[in-house]
Symmetry: C2
Subunit: 364 residues, 2 copies
């Protein structure tokens, strides 16, 4: 329901250029956009989310509204995607909002924050708890309009060359981990490293770094980390439900006819759900493959999780003290989080726990 | 990806009547459909899913493809919705596939089956594991084309006048519970009752029945069951992630232009996700309200769950022995289920468990 109010408030107008056509064409102008992805084609899950979105839009408009997807590096470097859209050099991008954490830490809430929400809770907050409106109040200041478009679910906690038995084992560990998660990890002694995807494997192999986080089984398996850093930790508490976003230049968004805006909205929401379904379907097989290849699955020890939770809390408070937009989103997310985890522990968690016990007994 | 193959295989053709219009109108004919919902307007969650779907379709087509939503009873009784669509008296319905369990038990898989998949797993199976294709092979025999359009998440396990401490306490309990779940419950001594939503409260009050299942906190709270049957059990193991469906008359579906089919697909997938988000957002507040009003939350005892699990297994085997369509879907679902519960217990469950512990410590 919120969505209707939101569209109403977004100042939707048909661009002058589109109004000139005859009545029936008003709602079906030919539009060609370029989408710059933050990801390489080899990540078929994440990169694929933008392709699914673009296909939905094209199919819904009989090919009249075409969005061509370009991999990272062709139109803009992966970490610059939203910056180019903001400037208007490209109409739309598919990216992680938290890549822009360096510009403003409030960008983190668009993707995932340490000890934040799981994937379903993210959707509850965004689509029915005012999250999309709140994020876009902020994005508007960067000349962007954003919508969730894909979720990985709870990610894994990364690959380690050596086993981590207590929080002390993290001291001095050079880990490829960025942004907010890196800040929290540094609070427990980790030395965060910024390394591009393609350089992680050789760095782990040489021992230049001791650990690296990536995504989850399906994406991780392709990069072969298990060969050089066999300890595969979980959960990735910094990404309990990590969103991808489409981000559109504000003027470009406002110039779309109303029905194209509606198509973009539904296509993004459908692709958002579709990507989560794809990850969920692909991850189990990849996990089995990894385990068979020698990956050593390990839960993070409880004291590690507790120390990281405390470090995250301190980081939230520190940033909130000097950044009002961040504080507003943190407060909103926290309220949703407390309620969601109250409810999810009742039916969802009890059902899943029973079923997982059956799975371990091989009764399924 | 599967979706593209599916649409290709579905024999999509533009109806002769639509082809007569000029080129630009071919893809934007004016179409008016009536949708018969299986639900009353008062269930704003479930009934609302059809409204969200219809609005997406209308907005995407600039009002050219209008789907008018009618509550149960106006065009067809709630439990007859798909039958009328099958006959072609109404173009489309929004219903629960398992309402037609009496015609063929295989219909159950479209909604939820006892000890089946949770909401995310349902999506994984349907959208990426071949579930939509498999369901529609079956629906086609009933002149229907179906798509998921809403999910409740794991439902609650029902309201009981007396506490259930062991499986023996279920013997002779008259419970409002239907279909497959009723069959499984009868295996542990429950006497299943078929009662329409509006008649549950007086029946519980008078003691004509001892227990009743409905949906979850938000929907249940409206009906006030806590006043007459205060013990509120969880989880609703027969509906770990219950889908709603739109079902379209096959000829009507085939007559849509390709772009309208694409719009229906994306709108249904978006509304599917949107409804889950709405439930997730509304349930926590309702749960707190129920607890404050005197509802007594109780997990089903472990021996009850184990006995019901065994009863379900026996029922699956019994029906599979004589129904090939049912067996095919059960085998497909079981394979997905074993894999999904293997993976979900790793990162998702560990993350959620840690966060729920923080919630109980009031640290969130």
């Amino acid at each position: 329901m919120l969505r209707r109010n939101f569209l109403k408030g977004a100042g939707i107008g048909v661009a002058a250029s589109a109004v000139a056509a005859p009545a029936i064409a008003q709602s079906a102008p030919e539009i060609n956009w370029r989408l710059t992805s933050s990801f390489p084609k080899s990540l078929d899950t994440i990169y694929g989310a933008a392709e699914v979105f673009a296909k939905y839009v094209s199919d819904a408009t009989d090919g009249k509204f075409k969005i061509q997807v370009f991999p990272a590096g062709e139109l803009a470097p992966g970490l610059e995607a939203a910056n180019e859209v903001s400037k208007g050099t490209v109409e739309i991008c598919h990216t992680c909002s938290y890549y822009y954490w360096g510009k403003d830490p409030a960008f983190a809430f668009g993707t995932a924050v340490p000890f934040g929400l799981n994937s379903r809770m993210q959707n509850a907050w965004m689509y029915h708890g005012g999250g999309i409106e709140l994020m876009n109040e902020f994005y508007a200041g960067h000349n962007l309009f954003g919508l969730p478009c894909g979720n990985t679910g709870a990610q894994m906690g990364g690959w380690f060359r050596k086993e981590i038995k207590t929080v002390d084992d993290l001291k001095g560990v050079k880990m490829r981990i960025a942004g907010f998660a890196g800040k929290v990890m540094s609070g427990v002694g980790v030395v965060p490293q910024q390394i591009a995807g393609g350089e992680i494997y050789p760095a782990l192999e040489k021992g230049t770094i001791d650990a690296a986080e990536w995504v989850g089984p399906y994406d991780d398996e392709k990069l072969g980390f298990y060969k050089v850093a066999p300890y595969y930790y979980y959960p990735g508490w910094w990404e309990g439900g990590a969103y991808l976003h489409i981000m559109i230049n504000t003027e470009k968004w406002n110039s779309l006819p109303k029905n194209y805006q509606a198509i973009v909205w539904a296509a993004a929401q459908a692709a958002n759900s579709d990507t989560q379904a794809k990850y969920d379907f692909l991850n189990p097989t990849a996990l089995k493959k990894l385990a068979a290849s020698g990956a050593q699955l390990r839960p993070y020890p409880q004291d590690v999780l507790e120390a990281c939770f405390a470090s995250a809390k301190a980081a939230y408070e520190e940033i909130s003290a000097s950044n009002a937009a961040f504080k507003k989103m943190y407060d909103a997310m926290s309220a949703v989080r407390a309620d969601q985890y109250l409810w999810f522990q009742v039916s969802e968690h009890t059902f899943d726990t029973f079923m997982m016990n059956q799975q371990r007994k091989k009764a399924l």
